[in-house]
Symmetry: D3
Subunit: 225 residues, 6 copies
C-alpha cells in the first residue's frame, strides 16, 4: 500500500479543514499518511441539498487530480455528497463520513442519536439512513438550532451540544451519539464525559475505517484501476 489518504472537506472553510486534521491526527500513518484538503469551489458551509449536490462536480474533479497519489478518499461532509459518484470514478477505497459514523455506531450501542446543526439537515439525514437501511437503529435526530453568532461561541455551542445529546439519550433512548457535522470534533471528548455514552466524530470514524481498508488493500472494485 502506497499513497496518501485524502480527506476532502467539500465546503470552503479552512477552519473546518483544520479541525478535521486535528481530529484525525491519532490515525495518521496507520498505515497511510493523511492529507486534509479544502474544496475551493465549495460554499462556506453546506446547509441544503442543493449546496451539497453542487459540490459533487468540483469534488470529482479534485479527486481526479489527486488520483495518482491517492491511497483512498474520505468525503468529509455529513450527508456524503458524491460518495457513490466518486466510487464510479476510482477503484480506490472511498468512504463518506456519515456512512462510516453510522457503521461505527451500529457496534457501540443499540440505538444511535444524531446531533444536527440545522433542522433542515434532518430530512437529508433520514433519506441517507433510509438508503443505508438502518432506520430501525435510529433513536432520534435533533438539531442544535443555533445561529451563526452562537455557533461561533464555543461555550454556547458546548452547552447546547450537551443539552441536545441529553435529550437524545434520555428522551429518545440513544446509547451512542453521532456528531452530525464535520467541524465539531473538538467537543467530542467533553460531550462523552458529560453524558457517559460514546460520542462518534464522523471524520475519525471514516479515517479509521479507511485506514483498515488501505492496510488490507480492500477496495469496492477488485482489480480496478
Amino acid at each position: 500500500m502506497t499513497g496518501t489518504l485524502f480527506v476532502i472537506n467539500p465546503n470552503s472553510s479552512d477552519t473546518v479543514t483544520e479541525g478535521i486534521a486535528e481530529a484525525i491526527a491519532p490515525l495518521r500513518n496507520l498505515p497511510a499518511p493523511v492529507t486534509c484538503l479544502t474544496l475551493a469551489e465549495g460554499p462556506p458551509g453546506i446547509e441544503s441539498q442543493a449546496q451539497a449536490d453542487e459540490t459533487i462536480a468540483p469534488m470529482l474533479a479534485l479527486a481526479a487530480r489527486l488520483e495518482p497519489e491517492a491511497a483512498g478518499y474520505v468525503v468529509a461532509c455529513f450527508g456524503d455528497p458524491g460518495v457513490h459518484a466518486l466510487r464510479d470514478r476510482t477503484a480506490k477505497p472511498v468512504l463518506g463520513i456519515q456512512e462510516a459514523a453510522v457503521a461505527t455506531a451500529l457496534t457501540l450501542g443499540q440505538r444511535f442519536g444524531i446531533i444536527a446543526i440545522l433542522p433542515a439537515s434532518i430530512p437529508r439525514h433520514l433519506r441517507s439512513l433510509g438508503a443505508m437501511g438502518v432506520l430501525d437503529r435510529l433513536a432520534g435526530d435533533r438539531a442544535l438550532n443555533l445561529g451563526v453568532a452562537e455557533l461561533a461561541d464555543p461555550d454556547v455551542t458546548e452547552t447546547r451540544l450537551i443539552e441536545t445529546g441529553r435529550a437524545l439519550r434520555d428522551l429518545d433512548g440513544a446509547e451512542v451519539l453521532i456528531l452530525g457535522c464535520a467541524g465539531m470534533a473538538r467537543y467530542r471528548a467533553t460531550l462523552e464525559q458529560a453524558l457517559q455514552i460514546p460520542v462518534i466524530d464522523p471524520c475519525q470514524a471514516a479515517v479509521a475505517m479507511l485506514q483498515g481498508r488501505i492496510a488490507l488493500d480492500q477496495t469496492h472494485r477488485p482489480g480496478g484501476g
Copy 2:
C-alpha cells in the same frame, strides 16, 4: 394557476426528449401546458451515479432560468437526480419520475417490479427506494442487459422487455411494472397487453401527479416564491 409545466430531460438526447413529449401528450393542458426540454450539458445517456450527479448543477441553472414562467418541474431521469436540490431552490412543485412512478405503483398492485436498462442502475434504484422507505413493496428489479446496438433495434428491445417483465411477474411476484428509464414509453402499451398487468411509464406518472398539484396550487413550501 398560470405558467408552464417543464419536463427537463437531464441527458442530452433530443430523441429521448421527443419520446417523453409524445408519452405525456394526453396530459397537456390538464391544466398546465407542458414543455419538454433537453439539458444540453447532460451526457448522451446517464449510466452511473457520477453522470447523474454531474447533471444537477446545470439542471438547477436551467430551472433558475425557467423559473419566471414555470408552473412546476419534472426531472425526467429515473433515479431523480437533483430533485431535492431543486426543491431547495424553488417553491413551485417538483417531481422526479422515479418517485412519482413508485407512488403510482403503490396504488396499482401490492408489489412492483422495475425494468432497468443496465445492471449498474439497480443499486442506485435500491438506494432511492430505501430513501423512500418502500422496499417492502418491491418485487424485484431486473435489467434488460442489452448493448447499445440491440437497444437501437425496437424488435429486440420489445422482446427483451417482455421477457424481463415476465420474469418480474412470474418469478418475483410483481403485480405492476415500472419502466425504469425515461425513454421507453413507446413500449408501455405493448408490454401491458403482453403481460396483462399494469405498466407505468415514469414520465407519464410524474406529469399526471404534477398536473394535479398545479390544479390544486399544492406546493412543498407554502407561501414560497
Copy 3:
C-alpha cells in the same frame, strides 16, 4: 376517455359530501367530470372498523349501478374501506383517499403526520400504513380529541387542528400533514398558512391522481371490462 369520475362518500352525511365536492372543484373536467355521492346505507359517521367494513357491501352495490357511466371511482373514507374489493369488481381505476394522500405525501416531505379525528382511528391508520409498507415515513398520528359539539364549532376545530398539526411538526418531525378525514378540506389552506408546511386533503389527492390515470387510460387490470 369518457364517463364520470365518481367520488363515493361511504357515510350518509350529505354535509360531508358537499364539503368533498367543494374541495375537489378545481379538479373537475381535468379531464373527467366529477360527481360526489353519498352512500345512503352508510352510518352518519364512520368511527370504527366495524362501521367501515359494513359500508363495503352497499358501496360495491352502488358502484355496480354506476359502472356503465363510470370513468373511475374514489372511495372517500380515510381507511379506504372496500377499495381492494372494488378493484376486484371493476377494471376501471379505483383510489382510496388514504392511499392517495400517503402517495402524495411521499413526494412532499420526508416524514408525514396524520391528523385523526378520534384516537380509535389511529390503530386503523397504522394497519393501513403497514399494509402499504410506508411506516418508516410516518412522523406521527395524533387525534383531535374533540367531541361532537366541539367539532361542530369551526373556530374550536380550527384552533385544535393547528395545535395538533404543530405537535406533529415540532414534536414528531412531520414535514407534511395529511388531514385524516374526508370532511376537513375547508381548513386545509388555513392550517397550511399557520404551520408553513404542506397540508394534504385526501379527497383532493385522490381525485388529482385519478384524473391523471383517467387521462392516461391507466387501469389496474389491462384489457379489463
Copy 4:
C-alpha cells in the same frame, strides 16, 4: 370461564366446516367446548377481497346472536376478514386464523412460508402480513395453482402441497410452513412428515391460542361486556 368457543367459517361450505371441526378436535374442552359453524350467507369459497369483505356484515350479525353463550370467537378464513370489526363489537377474545398462524410460526422457525390456494390470494396475504408488521419473517408465499377438479382429488392435492412446500423450504428458505386456507388440515401431518419441517394448520393455531386466552380470561378490552 363459561361459554363456548365459536369457530365461524365464513364460507358456506359445510365440508370445510367439518374439516375444521375434525382438525381442532384435540383442543376441545381445553378449557372451553368448541362449536364450528358455517356462515350461511357466505360464498361457497372465498376467492377475492370482495367476497371476503362481503362476509363481514353477516358474520357480525351471526356473532351478535351467539354473544350470550360465547366464550370467544375464531374467524376461520385465511385473510382474517372482519376480525378487527368483531373486536369492535365484543369484549370477548377474537382471533383470526391468519394472525394466529403467523404468531405461532414466529416461534417455530426464523422464516415461514405460506401455501396459498390461488395466486390471487397472495397480494391479500401480503397486505395482512404488512399490517401485522412481520414481512421480514416471510420466506415466500406460493400458490398451489390447482383447478376445482384437481383440488377435489386428494392425491393430486397432496402431491402438489408437497411440491409447493418443498419449493418454499428449498428455494425460499422457509423453516416452517403455514397452510394458507381453512380446509387443508387433513394434509398437515403428511406434509410435515414429507418435508421434515413444522406445518401449521391455521385453525388449530387459532383455537389453541384462544383456549389459552379463555383459560386466562384475557381479552382485548378489559372490563368490557
Copy 5:
C-alpha cells in the same frame, strides 16, 4: 401427549418461581401438568446480557435431565436466554416468555408497550424484537427505574407500574402492555383495571401457547426424539 410442561426460571430466586407457579395455575392440566423449577446455578436476578448468557449452559444441563419426563419447556426469563440453544437439543416444544408475550400482543392491539425493570434491559429487548422482526409493532419500552428496596415494596411497585404503563399508553400509543419480567404477574390484573388496556404476563402467555402445542403434538422438529 404425556409428560410434564416444565417452566424453568433461570434465576435462583424461589420467590420468583413461586410467583410464576401462581400466575400459570389456571393453565395447569390444559392438557399437561406444569412444574415450575428454579435454576440453582442462576444469579439471584438477571440484570445483564452476561448474566443471561451464563445461565444457558446450566439450563441446558437441567433440561437434559428433565428430558425423559418433559412434554415441553418454557424458559422463564424475559430476553429468552438459551431458547434457541434448547431447541437444538430437544425436539420437544420450547418457548421463551418474551417471544410468546410478543406473539400474543400482536393479536391484542396494534402497538405494544413493554415495562422493563431496568433501563439496561431495554437494549436487550430491542435486539430480541429486531431478531423477531416485530419492531414496527413496538410503541415503546420504558423502565420502572426502581431500586431494590422500592421493588420490595408492593405499593411503590404498583404505583410505578401504573405510571409507566400510562406513559406507554398515552405518550407512546400502546394499546396493549407486556410485563417485561417473570416476577410481576401479581400486578397484572390491577394494572389492566387501572389502564383499561390488556396487560400480558409473559409466563402466562408462554404456558398458554405451549399447552396448545402440546395438545396438538406440534413441535419444531417433526419426527425428532
Copy 6:
C-alpha cells in the same frame, strides 16, 4: 494506547486460530499488537446455537484473565456469541466478526451476500442481522453444503465457494460478499478475483475496525475500567 488486541477463537481448533492470525497479519501494530488465542473449552467447530452459547461462559472467563493486558477484544466466531456479554464485563472495545463484517459491507455495495458453511447457520445469521436492523441490505445467505471431508480439500472448497458466491452475485444481486466463518480467509483473494466483487473476511474486518477504535481510544463505556 497500550495493551494487546486479543482475537479469541471460541472453537478449539488451533488450525482455525492460525488461519485467523495469518489473515490479520497486515493489521498488526496499527497501532496495537495482536494476539490470536484458541478457547480450549470450545467445541472443535461451532455448528449450532447451543454450541455457540456454551462458549460464552469460558470465553468471558478467558477475557477476564486477559483484561489487565488487553487493549480490546475480537470474538472470532460468525454469529458473535458473547459479544454483548463481554461488553457488560469490560469497558474496553469489543467487536464481533459478524457485526464488523456487516458494518464494513454496508460501505462496499448496496446488498451483501453471506456464504455460510452449513444450512443450519442461516437462521442464526438472520436473527443476528435482524437484531442489527440491516436485513434490507441482505441479498442472500447461501450455504456451501460441504461435508467434513470435502471441506478438508482446498480445491473442492474453493470451487464450491466460487459457485456459491456466483449464485449470490447473479441470482440474489449481491454486490459484496461476506465469508460467514472465521476460517476461510485464505480463499478471500481468489474468490474476489474470480467474481470481481469485494469479498470480506470477517476477522480482518473486525481487527481493522478495532485497531481504529484503539487508536482513537473509543470505547462503548466512557470512563469505564
